[in-house]
């Protein structure tokens, strides 16, 4: 069967967007000592079938996009983080303990379908 041509324009394709988490916005600056915030980023955009091979896609995304093309009831593949990195946070708890802890998967480095 013929596969429909995707309508997504380049700027709507799955890619990484900047997102700065400012702890002051959350009211957490009262107990998080450092950092004051960090660039966490997020993934957003479409994953059309014709581009799943070039959008850092998983094989599964390729198959889902293929199925979406033949049956629109199947949702399109989704744009998700494919590479994340950690940050360290320094904060104070209710017992006045100062704690430094590493947290994995806090920053989106790359996105894919």
């Amino acid at each position: 069967a013929a596969i429909p041509v995707p309508k997504a324009s380049c700027k709507n394709l799955c890619h990484r967007h900047q997102l700065f988490i400012n702890f002051r916005d959350l009211g957490w600056h009262k107990w998080i000592i450092a950092p004051k915030g960090f660039m966490a980023n997020y993934c957003h955009g479409e994953c059309p079938f014709s581009l799943t091979t070039s959008l850092n896609s998983s094989n599964y995304a390729f198959m889902q996009a293929l199925m979406n093309a033949v049956d629109p009831e199947i949702p399109q593949a989704v744009c998700v983080p494919t590479k994340l990195s950690p940050i360290s946070m320094l904060y104070q708890d209710n017992d006045d303990n100062v704690i430094l802890r590493h947290y994995e998967d806090m920053v989106v480095d790359e996105c894919g379908c």
Binding site: K30, P35, S85, S88, L90, N97, I99, H102, E104
Partner: protein
């Protein structure tokens, strides 16, 4: 205007951080040099941590993924004058280890004593510092506890010149048997007989010392669920 996350959403994330509720400290505690350095190094090179093992602290040379600085919750005791020595300062040091979770493995427990500027080092041999383990919780009170095991003074070079003691074995024991944690007995002694004028100066020094003394316990723990033995090798 920005909205606020719901309490439920916030609670879920706080649990992820290892907290039961939103902390509300009246003021920030002093942050030791080593913690500041780790954070500053990471801020300077945010991508540097990506390829490194999160569970190895190169600054301290040990495995661990959580560093806690526990404040001293002890209190001062009235000093006694002995025949040849007089006590400049006596204090019970107490650290609450309850924040350390069951599955955590202790890899560092380091007592830090900051005596303030120009005290211990300037007076040299005239002051002696003794640190001992308090054996039983029943001694807590106004009376001076009977000191148990005496620690040798272990001072290591440090940018701020504070005194450091390795309490790893002691902290492990406290962690396994919390009822044994009756704290530590710290005493700073003045040696020998002195004339009135020198005694007056020393009293002034001791008063300053009481005001400036700051004790804390740096605890590093490793959570095996978050730190797999093979993670370093794999990376």
């Amino acid at each position: 205007a920005l909205g606020q996350p719901s309490q439920c959403q916030e609670h879920v994330f706080l649990q992820f951080l290892g907290l039961d509720k939103v902390p509300s400290p009246p003021k920030f505690q002093p942050v030791p040099y080593i913690l500041r350095k780790i954070i500053q190094d990471q801020a300077a090179a945010p991508s540097a941590g990506v390829s490194e093992d999160l569970c190895y602290l190169k600054e301290l040379g040990v495995r661990g993924n959580v560093l806690r600085l526990l404040p001293d919750q002890g209190f001062f005791l009235n000093s006694k004058k002995h025949s040849q020595t007089s006590s400049c300062l006596q204090k019970l040091l107490y650290f609450n280890l309850s924040a350390v979770k069951e599955k955590d493995q202790l890899t560092i427990a380091q007592l830090g004593l900051d005596l303030g500027p120009s005290t211990y080092y300037d007076l040299g041999p005239e002051l002696e510092l003794a640190l001992s383990l308090v054996q039983k919780a029943s001694v807590w009170g106004k009376s001076i506890p009977k000191p148990g095991k005496l620690f040798a003074l272990q001072s290591v070079p440090w940018p701020q010149g504070a005194l450091r003691f390795n309490l790893l074995d002691v902290a492990k024991d406290w962690y396994i048997n919390p009822q044994k944690n009756a704290g530590l007995f710290l005493e700073i002694l003045v040696k020998g007989d002195r004339d009135v004028e020198v005694n007056f100066q020393l009293e002034d020094t001791c008063a300053k010392l009481r005001r400036s003394l700051h004790a804390s316990l740096l605890v590093v723990t490793l959570n095996p669920e978050q730190c797999h033995p093979s993670s370093r090798k794999r990376r």
